[in-house]
């Protein structure tokens, strides 16, 4: 069970981006979070993935409150979340070949010996051919790079998947392929999913339950939005 309770988070304590947001994802459940651009849903997703420490509120993971974020969080807890970001160009280290990009979490957690068994199969699952694996990020398309990023998120077999606008930059066929990979993975492992997006049709078809940002944040507490949202 992944429970976010009254989370207040942001990049400046005086002007939080998210105020009192609450959201629950049951094990094996797929929850879609819908919201307009700049409302703070990405920040909430980062909090849920233990990548951003909230200013207030509780994150309960299977009933246990999480007290530490980013590097301070225990490695086992951090790697329980697989995260896919919106822009593959920015979320891939430009110096790593795609094979190394996918294998990087295994190397970082000292499970180097699993690479030959895990990486080729996973690359095949997300639809990357062998010649693409030897290329660097600038030599592949956005869609191919996002496939590699999804493979990287799945390589440690996370119990939770956080997809932050995973398909916003992609065409329809790549979107369908990546969603199918996520669903196959969830069917095989029973992982929970928090999919953030602004495409209601996609999220309605993909997820068990779609929640709108207005129901996550109590009314009247949306916070002072800048007139021109930055993100």
């Amino acid at each position: 069970m992944l429970e976010l309770r009254a989370i207040t988070a942001g990049y400046d304590r005086r002007a939080p981006v998210v105020r009192d947001a609450s959201l629950t994802v049951a094990p094996g459940e797929a929850v879609g979070l819908l919201g307009p651009s700049g409302c703070g849903k990405s920040t909430l997703a980062r909090v849920a993935a233990l990548l951003h420490r909230p200013d207030a509120g509780t994150l309960l993971l299977d009933g246990t409150p999480v007290r530490r974020w980013r590097h301070r969080a225990p490695r086992g807890l951090r790697t329980a979340f697989g995260v896919v970001f919106q822009q593959p160009r920015l979320s891939a280290d430009p110096r790593l070949r795609l094979a190394d990009l996918i294998a990087e979490p295994l190397r970082a957690t000292g499970r180097r010996e699993e690479i030959p068994a895990r990486v080729p199969g996973l690359a095949d699952t997300v639809g990357l051919t062998g010649d693409l694996l030897t290329r660097r990020p600038h030599e592949v398309s956005d869609g191919q790079l996002q496939r590699a990023c999804l493979a990287r998120a799945l390589v440690l077999r996370p119990r939770w998947l956080i997809c932050d606008e995973m398909t916003a930059m992609l065409d329809a066929s790549t979107t369908a392929a990546l969603v199918a990979v996520v669903e196959d993975y969830r069917a095989a492992t029973g992982a929970g999913l928090l999919a953030v997006g602004h495409d209601q049709i996609l999220l309605d078809r993909w997820c068990d339950r779609t929640v709108h940002w207005d129901t996550v944040v109590p009314t009247g507490k949306e916070g002072a939005r800048p007139l021109t949202p930055v993100r």
């Binding site: 993935a49 697989g82 979490p105 970082a108 440690l156």
Partner: protein
């Protein structure tokens, strides 16, 4: 014929720029290569004593037997210049490398750790930069007996500050990229994030800073030696050569000052030219800043 000139005139701006660019790259590379080869090969191959005094031939103007002339005790200036360049280059390269390693380590640590550690380190850097670095260098050199290593230490310890600033700024801009988030989520430790994802991103900038620092460090060595604080006077370095020649310059003997001066300026311009081309490679938008 008329056609080709018309086309040439129309494209002249682009081709002219490209050709000055390649000419500068080739000339700089050739000069650096000649300098390095001369410094490495001449002393072991020639087997001449640069300290050989010949009082009968003192202060001779340039001639066939002494192409650069002789100094006030009759030593051959060409040989002294090559040996001097050897010492100056050694000091320049070692000091620049040491300063770059210190600066990169400090800057990367400050940028990667952030928070109060970052603030404390950067205030220290600000404080040290507020002291004129030649003055600080003189202070460090004055604590030791004259020699090569005190000069290296003095130049290295006063020149890591700008590198630390550059590296920290670069790390700060890389640190907030989503790929660092992805690495954290993939279980990477702080150390691994710094070494595998942050440092490779700042190495081109740090390398460029190191190359640009080599001529700067050579000038510092010369300045310290010229002030009589750096190398002992019998050790040939470009600074000690120029300093020793001050008296004869007033008596109308120009060659003991001119040739060591050229030996200092030409490699400086060549290295700066190479670094300029490299900088253009890394960041084409900074083209206007690279005139050195």
């Amino acid at each position: 014929m008329a056609d080709t000139t018309a086309v040439k005139a129309w494209r002249s701006h682009g081709t002219a720029r490209r050709s000055t660019h390649t000419v500068r790259l080739r000339v700089s590379a050739a000069l650096v290569a000649v300098t390095v080869l001369a410094v490495l090969l001449v002393p072991p191959l020639v087997q001449l004593d640069q300290q050989a005094v010949d009082l009968a031939a003192k202060l001779r103007p340039p001639s066939w037997s002494h192409p650069f002339g002789t100094d006030d005790v009759g030593r051959d200036l060409l040989l002294r210049c090559v040996y001097g360049l050897r010492v100056s280059l050694l000091v320049g390269v070692v000091a620049a490398l040491t300063a770059t390693v210190i600066g990169t380590a400090v800057g990367a640590a400050a940028g990667a750790l952030g928070g109060w550690a970052d603030r404390a380190v950067m205030r220290l850097v600000d404080t040290l930069s507020s002291v004129p670095h030649l003055l600080l260098g003189i202070f460090i050199v004055a604590m030791f007996r004259p020699g090569v290593w005190p000069v290296v230490v003095s130049v290295a310890l006063t020149h890591w500050l700008s590198t630390a600033r550059i590296v920290r700024a670069e790390v700060l801009s890389l640190r907030s990229r989503p790929y660092i988030d992805a690495a954290v989520s993939g279980g990477a430790s702080r150390w691994r994030v710094a070494v595998r994802h942050l440092l490779p991103g700042v190495l081109p900038q740090a390398g460029l800073a190191a190359v640009l620092m080599v001529p700067h460090a050579m000038w510092h060595e010369s300045a310290l030696s010229f002030l009589g604080l750096g190398l002992p006077t019998h050790t040939a370095s470009l600074g000690t050569l120029i300093q020793g020649a001050r008296g004869s310059l007033l008596a109308g003997q120009w060659w003991p000052t001119l040739f060591p001066g050229l030996f200092l300026i030409i490699p400086t311009l060549a290295i700066a030219g190479l670094a300029g081309v490299w900088r253009e490679r890394i960041n084409p938008r900074r083209r206007s800043e690279l005139m050195l």
